[in-house]
């Protein structure tokens, strides 16, 4: 099983390349073209990453996050969530770049293979930037009465966070 996950990247790339070759796709130009658009995405997120990570670093250094995490620790504990992950849960629905910054910081501080680092990674991988998505969709089709979309989406987010902590406990003991 370990070997499978180690080989997942080369295997995925290989299988897709072979399949696409048989479907007569110009694999190499597609790859290069896609990599270029990845660079565009990256340059697009760097400015907001700079702004948000500055604020997140300041917030962390000021002790405000510890105070908030400390105040909410009993609730978080009861739910099986490590209080250290509270900042990530708070920014996740609002900003993708901020969540990436906070998550990367947690993964680097606690280590990618620690329980906390893994939980942070799973939270990032199993949730989306909820409010941004809602704004884009309802803005594009000019919906003003959003009815139950926001509460239902937040139910899904909360479940994602709880399930991330639970799934890491189940999968990694």
């Amino acid at each position: 099983m370990d070997l499978f996950f180690t080989m997942l990247v080369p295997l995925t790339i290989g299988v897709i390349a072979i399949y696409a070759t048989f479907r007569r796709v110009d694999v190499y130009s597609a790859l290069v073209q896609g990599a270029g658009s990845g660079l565009e995405t990256l340059t697009r997120i760097v400015p907001s990453l700079i702004g948000l990570m500055t604020a997140v670093y300041m917030l962390r250094a000021s002790g405000a996050l510890e105070l908030l995490a400390g105040a909410l620790a009993p609730v978080m504990d009861r739910l099986g969530l490590p209080p250290e992950l509270l900042p990530l849960m708070l920014v996740r629905p609002i900003s993708g770049s901020a969540a990436l910054g906070v998550g990367a910081e947690l993964i680097s501080t606690y280590g990618p293979d620690s329980q906390l680092g893994r939980t942070a990674a799973v939270m990032l991988g199993s949730t989306e930037t909820t409010f941004y998505t809602i704004a884009v969709y309802f803005g594009a089709v000019k919906i003003t009465r959003t009815r139950y979309a926001v509460p239902a989406a937040l139910c899904a987010d909360l479940t994602g966070f709880l399930a991330a902590a639970w799934a890491v406990r189940v999968c990694f003991g």
């Binding site: 180690t6 073209q33 670093y57 300041m58 000021s62 919906i143 009465r145 991330a164 189940v170």
Partner: protein
Amino acid sequence: MTMTVIWTGMVALSILCGLATGRGPEVAAAAVEGAGAAVELALSIAGMLCLWTGVMEVMRQSGLADRLSRLLAPILRRLYPQAARDRAAMDAISANVSANLLGLGSAATPLGLEAARRLARHSPGVASDALCTLVVCNTASIQLIPTTVATVRAAEGCAAPFDILPAVWLASALSVGVGILACKLFARIWRD
């Protein structure tokens, strides 16, 4: 404008809290550190992130997304009974879901918006049940291979950055499942 309030609030709170707890110098140091750390993070994930968007472009051009979309259509018709007769809307929804599954974010949004436009025609200004379900499904992550977070883990020296996949699938499935259930439940009890 929301981000302005949040960002300014974060900065003001840090300064106030830093001064109150006597951590002023740490806040000052952090203010000049964060920007550099952001660029470092971007650089450390740049290579693998671009490689993946490249692989995804190959996947898109090979028609894998279309195939998946046809496979998903019958399931999605059950999820959107109100829209099942609108062929174009259902096609857009299937394509949106399959693009989301494959992590083709830049393709998923225009497809999702096309579906939303068609669903919204029946009830202008008000989010119908089908539209709520579509939006909630898009606020939940169903990406099968979460490449960005795996890239961050790899950059931090993780030997098997994808070993979190089963946990991600479990958490994603539960989150989407509860989101859809919440929509179905709210659709019955919501009074507006």
